[in-house]
């Protein structure tokens, strides 16, 4: 299927709706009602779990058929280890991203991406 710019515009507008609903509804509901304490305690573990899952998707999953690739993207795995080290020591988001990009670009010359 080949989309025209008009199709793309419709896609963008619908994407906005799809992105807005889950952002707005919980904010609206919970800003006027008391959140139970257990819910807040639970939410504390959401960011770390979610971001880990997203990283795993990028590094270990082939999203064309959702198969596990193991060490198939070795360059990304090694670069990811570098990023963890840089992030832990520097606490700098910008530095982590830029060095991560440089690392994966260099590793891609010798390892599968």
């Amino acid at each position: 299927m080949n989309m025209s710019s008009m199709d793309h515009l419709i896609l963008v507008l619908l994407s906005m709706v799809v992105a807005f609903i889950p952002r707005f509804i919980p904010l609206r509901i919970f800003s006027t009602r008391q959140i139970p304490r257990w819910f807040n305690e639970w939410m504390k573990y959401v960011p770390v779990s979610l971001f880990t899952a997203l990283v795993v998707k990028d590094i270990f999953i082939d999203t064309s058929d959702y198969s596990f690739v193991g060490l198939g993207y070795l360059a990304k795995i090694v670069a990811a280890i570098c990023v963890i080290g840089v992030a832990y020591r520097s606490r700098s988001m910008g530095l982590s991203v830029v060095l991560g990009l440089i690392a994966v670009a260099l590793l891609a010359l010798v390892l599968p991406v």
């Binding site: 793309h8 779990s49 990028d58 990811a80 991203v97 891609a108």
Partner: protein, 255 residues
């Protein structure tokens, strides 16, 4: 005390690390969207209206793979579902705001400005919803600008898109590292990784991300609750980990 800086400048300084790190990611995203057939107007629009790195990277890669529109939208919805969790955890700080404010705030909420705002709300009593909205808008401005430039240089240079895609992975990795507070968070992160692989392979969609996130965070909550109730806050699992570098950062911003 020195002369008071205007509030917008103070907030800008707090947002700056985030804004600067959006530049390489935004450039990468703009280049990918260009490769997917978006012109610069569409790229600017999607950055302003959707404002989600993950969503925009996904739109680009699915368009390249010739996915039909409804498939892209369903995938996006599941990817964006995580904002429900971010929104709920910020909502306690959004009391006494108008419905209109919540609309505007929700529209430009995303992972990264959430991370900044959540930290500020939790540690700074003077941090207001208005400041939080300012952080969102500064990051939106930098994000959109970087995407626009990426879109414009997309046809001048030829880059391996798999490599550009790693910008987002690196960003998520950074955020995982920032979340590590004790041994238990490391264990929950590993559990989330294993669950993510299993659930994505079984469900064959990014819905697996949501399942893994909910399960892993629930296990973390249950274990912490158990340890606290049995008086083991100072035990091996919940003892705080403090890297040397973070102390310097904290004392700097604490002045």
């Amino acid at each position: 005390m020195e002369t008071e800086k205007p509030r917008w400048r103070e907030v800008l300084e707090i947002s700056m690390p985030l804004c600067l790190s959006y530049i390489p990611i935004g450039l990468a995203c703009g280049i990918l969207l260009h490769a997917a057939g978006f012109n610069w107007i569409l790229t600017t629009l999607v950055s302003l209206l959707v404002f989600s790195g993950g969503a925009q990277f996904m739109i680009a890669s699915m368009l390249v793979a010739n996915a039909p529109m409804h498939t892209i939208l369903i995938m996006l919805f599941f990817l964006e579902l995580r904002y429900a969790l971010l929104g709920s955890s910020l909502s306690q700080y959004m009391r006494n705001t108008s419905k209109k404010f919540l609309y505007i705030f929700a529209a430009s909420l995303n992972d990264e400005n959430y991370a900044v705002n959540y930290l500020k709300f939790a540690t700074d009593k003077g941090w207001s919803p208005k400041d939080a909205l300012m952080v969102e808008h500064y990051s939106l401005l930098f994000w959109t600008g970087a995407n626009l430039i990426g879109s414009l240089i997309g046809n001048m240079i030829n880059i391996n898109l798999d490599i550009v895609d790693f910008a987002l992975t690196a960003l998520f990795l950074y955020m995982v590292v920032m979340q590590i507070k004790n041994v238990l968070t490391i264990l929950i992160s590993l559990l989330a990784a294993v669950l993510a692989v299993i659930s994505m392979v079984l469900i064959k969609s990014t819905m697996g991300l949501v399942v893994a996130t909910l399960l892993a965070s629930l296990v973390g909550f249950i274990i912490e609750d158990y340890l606290v109730k049995h008086g083991r806050e100072k035990g091996f699992l919940l003892k705080k980990i403090k890297p040397k570098a973070s102390r310097k950062v904290i004392s700097k911003s604490g002045e």
